[in-house]
């Protein structure tokens, strides 16, 4: 067995993991930015409820979240059957379901740092932008968003890491299907459940460590470049 090249099953798990985590982040990040901005800047009836709802997956056992997703988004679930009949979008036992589970689980981890960074941006700067004729949406895009970018980047990295490692909700919701829902974490679990799967488990562990390490370095480089662009004292 070649130690340095990946076996087809490993490659499949790795690519699937990246695909699932990437898709989860793609959908969850913009949504999380909106929710974080709303929570940071507006006081509305139900503010506390929205906040609690967002943080629910963080405190619930992942299996519970997975089960709720299965009930709601499964083929017979109210939302799942509706989406399948209207958009032809099915979450049950395929990779989109894994992405949904990963997105839901990582959502609170993205919202938190993004909200903090929005709260750190002085609203007085937005007032100044509005006094110069900028519409609220324009001042958000040109002032608030760029100044909150370090926090958004932090949230994205945290969310991506969480999505890559998601296990409990995924296996409950979409099971452990090779090539469809078997991500690195699930593959590793499978290996540990297989007699003489030690070597396979070890190799998967190495892959996970390598991916995590690469992601961390990339984010560090990005953050440094961002800090420089934002003008030194505004990290």
């Amino acid at each position: 067995m070649d130690l340095l090249s990946l076996q087809p099953a490993e490659m499949q798990a790795l690519l699937l993991t990246l695909k699932v985590a990437g898709a989860a982040l793609l959908v969850a990040l913009p949504l999380a930015v909106l929710v974080a901005y709303g929570l940071a800047r507006y006081r509305f009836p139900g503010h506390g409820l929205v906040n609690a709802l967002v943080h629910m997956p963080l405190v619930l056992p992942p299996v519970v979240t997975g089960y709720v997703l299965l009930v709601a988004f499964g083929r017979k679930g109210p939302i799942g059957s509706f989406l399948e009949s209207t958009l032809g979008l099915s979450f049950a036992f395929n990779w989109t379901g894994a992405a949904l589970a990963a997105g839901v689980m990582s959502f609170p981890l993205i919202v938190r740092p993004v909200r903090l960074s929005f709260e750190a941006v002085d609203t007085k700067l937005e007032d100044a932008a509005n006094s110069l004729g900028a519409h609220r949406l324009v001042s958000f895009v040109t002032i608030t968003l760029p100044l909150a970018l370090p926090g958004i980047l932090g949230g994205a990295i945290l969310g991506f890491a969480k999505a890559m490692g998601e296990f409990g909700a995924t296996i409950t919701f979409v099971s452990n299907i090779p090539g469809e829902t078997r991500t690195l974490a699930l593959a590793l679990y499978t290996a540990t459940q297989t007699p003489s799967g030690d070597i396979a488990a070890f190799r998967l562990t190495l892959i996970a460590v390598f991916v995590a390490f690469a992601a961390l370095i990339a984010s560090e480089v990005l953050a440094r470049r961002l800090r420089r662009r934002l003008g030194g004292d505004h990290a």
Binding site: A128, A129, S131, G133, A134, T142, I143, G232
Partner: protein
């Protein structure tokens, strides 16, 4: 040009402001906590008044009765904040052009002209966090000017600066007030800045506007003692530079037939100047004194005497159609038998009129 008649409430302060001004530089003067920033924020649209009306140049920005309340972005008010509020992630140049590219404002003012006016040429490629306090304020003023404003609000632009930085930026403000061509609302708690820059003075005290009017008239009023501050109180004289005495380093200023000698020669003959004469620097004599070192002695007559409960009295005297304010002891009023209408000699030490009390005359609004 600027008409304000509003009531509002912020925290524990009830605000009730009413004034109007014909343009030029209108100063909003009052102590800290008088409600100056609240009032300007209401004019700018950042705070909504409870009732009333605000109009600039005939355009109604707010009218409670008619349900008009223009949003901030549509008011076209150039707001220079006390803390500058530059966008830290953009270069000075991008800050200056923000109104054009983000606010869709078409500035009638030339970019290069504003850069020249405020001396911003060397700063254009720098980022705000690397600028000094005075430089930040100049950029903030430029950014507001380039937003095609119908009114420029300057909320204590010098308050966070030390005296040296203030002296750096004041000449720019002199030029700006002269050349801006738009009405300016200048907020300050410094009588020195107000006397120097403004044409109209609005006094704000405890959330109310007890008085407003031409700045010289307002500074000559003795009934506003508490609001204008006692120690720094003084009247404004306007005149023209008549002669430069190079031998002794004195400038002679014609204040309507009488000549006032002041130190410093940085003036051209014929230029109008505005002098703020502090009441505490003025003495009175009932007979023209002799053998004095004081070079400025004018015949005048007393217009009013205001005695306070303390040891002081405020005397207003008329000299060649202008008013000089003197602060002397009540004991002197009694000993000299001063009374309204009585002729006196007004004595002013030349040395007391330093550079900071002498400024170009702000232009009369068109």
């Amino acid at each position: 040009m600027l008409d304000v008649d509003i009531t509002g409430r912020i925290g524990h302060l009830d605000l009730e402001a009413r004034f109007s001004s014909d343009g030029g530089v209108t100063s909003l003067f009052g102590q800290s906590g008088a409600g100056k920033t609240t009032l300007t924020n209401m004019i700018a649209g950042l705070i909504t008044p409870l009732s009333g009306r605000i109009a600039v140049n005939g355009t109604v920005l707010f009218d409670h009765a008619k349900g008009i309340d223009l949003p901030v972005r549509d008011r076209r008010i150039g707001h220079v904040f006390q803390d500058a509020r530059l966008f830290p992630h953009m270069s000075v140049r991008t800050n200056l052009t923000y109104a054009r590219w983000a606010g869709r404002r078409k500035s009638t003012r030339d970019f290069g002209e504003v850069v020249d006016l405020l001396g911003l040429d060397d700063l254009l490629d720098r980022k705000p966090p690397t600028l000094s306090g005075g430089e930040k304020q100049r950029v903030a003023i430029g950014r507001a000017l380039l937003s095609d404003p119908r009114l420029l609000i300057m909320d204590e632009p010098l308050a966070n600066l030390d005296q040296a930085r203030r002296n750096d930026i004041l000449p720019y403000l002199d030029r700006l007030c002269g050349e801006a061509g738009i009405p300016i609302l200048y907020v300050s708690h410094s009588i020195e800045e107000v006397a120097r820059l403004s044409t109209t003075l609005v006094i704000l005290s405890g959330g109310r506007t007890p008085a407003y009017g031409p700045v010289a008239d307002m500074l000559a009023r003795t009934d506003l003692g508490r609001a204008t501050g006692r120690h720094e109180a003084g009247a404004l004289l306007e005149g023209k530079v008549a002669r430069l005495d190079r031998q002794w380093g004195l400038t002679h200023v014609d204040i309507g037939g009488s000549f006032l000698q002041i130190p410093d020669l940085e003036a051209e003959i014929g230029t109008p100047v505005r002098l703020r004469i502090r009441a505490r620097d003025v003495s009175l004599a009932v007979t023209p004194p002799e053998g004095l070192s004081i070079r400025n002695a004018f015949g005048a007559h007393i217009v009013s005497i205001t005695e306070e409960s303390g040891p002081y009295a405020e005397i207003l005297c008329e000299v060649g159609g202008q008013t000089i304010r003197a602060r002397i002891t009540r004991a002197s009023v009694h000993d000299l038998n001063l009374a309204v209408g009585k002729p006196v000699t007004v004595l002013i030490k030349s040395v007391a009129i330093d550079k900071r009390q002498r400024t170009p005359v702000p232009p009369v609004p068109a």
